[in-house]
């Protein structure tokens, strides 16, 4: 079943045409990956899906409902969560308060889900009263992901979750993504780390200067020569 359907979106920053005629879909239960070099428009696509930016054309539907004009904050309770690029946790709030913000629309479920997140990330539990800004980069990324999980999303969009992390943490983050997927969450992943991303992706799209240049199954794209040259270092 189709969960997210993006049809022909065009997004501008003033005069800059950042996303051009982009269409793609994410089916329920998939891991879909969006790769592309710096400035290709990956983050712009995610922000448009989550409602922070608007497309001038086309249509975005989530679970069969047109969301192209829905305000961003309303999409959270509809089941869409977006972990933005650069983590964007609340640096002056404690770990626990950050998680509570993640449950802003989750009501009574929040406390139980915070316990689940603590179980998944024991490090966060140890640091529950620590101020977000004093966490290490990896801990901040765990908090950013954990925070998004509190709303129990149907579709989790992750924007470069491995950015700036040591290799061991990168594999850990990918493990977590696989676990979340196994637990039934559909995932839309934006990554620079094309090699690891293509390995776990059911399908992938390659974005080049705002356009979708290629798409296919993760395994096919990983074997494609063009991809190897451009993104896999040979």
């Amino acid at each position: 079943m189709q969960m997210l359907n993006v049809e022909n979106i065009n997004v501008y920053y003033g005069q800059i045409h950042a996303v051009k005629d982009v269409s793609f879909e994410v089916n329920e239960g998939e891991i879909v990956c969006l790769i592309g070099s710096n400035g290709a428009g990956k983050s712009t696509v995610l922000k448009t899906v989550s409602g922070l930016l608007r497309s001038r054309t086309g249509c975005i539907s989530f679970m069969g409902r047109d969301i192209s004009k829905t305000e961003a904050f309303r999409l959270v309770s509809a089941g869409l969560a977006h972990v933005p690029e650069g983590r964007r946790i609340f640096l002056q709030m404690t770990v626990e308060e950050n998680l509570q913000m993640g449950g802003y629309t989750a009501g009574k479920e929040t406390d139980a889900r915070i316990r689940d997140v603590y179980e998944r990330f024991p490090r966060l539990k140890e640091r529950r009263n620590q101020i977000g800004g004093t966490l290490s980069g990896g801990e901040q990324q765990m908090l950013a992901i954990g925070r998004a999980l509190i709303s129990a999303p149907k579709l989790l969009m992750l924007d470069e979750p491995s950015m700036g992390l040591a290799p061991i943490l990168v594999s850990q983050i990918f493990e977590i993504i696989k676990e979340l997927h196994a637990a039934g969450t559909t995932i839309l992943l934006v990554e620079q780390n094309a090699e690891m991303a293509l390995k776990i992706a059911d399908r992938a799209y390659v974005l080049e200067s705002g356009r979708i240049a290629l798409s296919g199954s993760g395994a096919d794209l990983a074997r494609s020569d063009a991809i190897k040259k451009a993104y896999l270092g040979g």
Partner: protein, 291 residues
């Protein structure tokens, strides 16, 4: 004992500044703008009390409630009409708009009430207290106690409640807050509402302390409260409280012991010295971001 009396009236004046400074700092924190019309809300609140009591004959408590409600509606409308469309504009554009709104409020007040001063009705009927040689004006005591209660309640609200935490989240990162499901527009409106309500309360105390209100009455306490907010660290709520109290005490003590004419100069001088040594204000903090 004289000193103690002066200190207490300084604290009382300072708590008025603190109430106003809280509005400045909360709005700055959440909307990243200096709302220069904030001082004029005080004037509107005070005039609302004058009209309610002198013209409509309402009891004091009801006049206070009406005044607070008027200011809340006004503050929220100003944000919606004047500031919201500029949310992504340059800071200078917003600042000039805020100054424009300030002049607008003053001009409308002048049109309605004339440019002369109006005497403020007696709303606080607490007698002067005499303990040995210590004299405390009833007005000062009520101002001090009510402001203290308001500040405690506000601190708890921002620290502990869902809306208070949402306000902190929005002031840190609007997009991230929106992605949490927080209605950012509503949260900003609530902040303007709270700031304006505090300004109305400050207007009532200011009117009772000085006895007269005119269309331009709001600008001086407005500027001083802005100074207090910067002094304490703009954006910081305890900073605004501390800055307001410190300003009131410095002003009153310099009036009493140095010179009435120079008191304002001394107040601003102290601010400059503090900012030289601590550019972010007493409690302002620089956040280091991890990349």
């Amino acid at each position: 004992m004289d000193f103690l009396s002066n200190l207490i009236s300084g604290l009382s004046l300072g708590s008025i500044y603190a109430l106003i400074a809280l509005g400045y700092t909360m709005v700055y924190g959440i909307a990243k703008m200096l709302n220069f019309a904030h001082g004029d809300i005080i004037m509107v609140g005070a005039f609302a009390v004058i009209v309610c009591i002198n013209t409509c004959g309402l009891p004091v408590w009801l006049a206070a409630v009406v005044s607070i409600l008027c200011c809340i509606v006004l503050g929220v409308l100003i944000e919606r009409i004047a500031y919201k469309p500029l949310r992504r504009s340059a800071p200078l554009t917003v600042l000039i708009t805020a100054i424009g709104v300030s002049y607008l409020l003053q001009s409308v007040a002048q049109l309605v009430f004339g440019s002369e001063m109006h005497s403020f009705p007696k709303v606080i009927s607490m007698p002067t207290i005499q303990i040995g040689e210590l004299t405390i004006k009833g007005n000062a005591l009520v101002t001090l106690v009510v402001s203290a209660v308001i500040m405690v309640v506000l601190t708890l609200f921002i620290g502990k409640t869902r809306m208070g935490k949402a306000m902190r989240a929005v002031s840190e990162d609007k997009d991230a807050a929106e992605l949490m499901g927080i209605n950012v527009n509503k949260t900003i409106s609530v902040t303007f509402a709270i700031g304006s309500a505090l300004a109305a309360v400050a207007g009532i105390f200011y009117g009772s302390t000085y006895g007269f209100i005119g269309p331009y009455t709001g600008s001086m306490p407005g500027i001083k409260a802005f100074v207090a907010a910067v002094f304490g660290g703009i954006g910081s709520i305890p900073g605004a409280m501390l800055g307001g109290l410190a300003l009131g005490i410095i002003e009153n003590l310099s009036k009493a012991y140095i010179s009435t004419e120079l008191s304002d100069a001394i107040v601003f001088g102290v601010l400059i010295i503090v900012l030289l040594f601590k550019p972010t204000g007493l409690l302002g903090k620089k956040i280091k971001e991890k990349v």
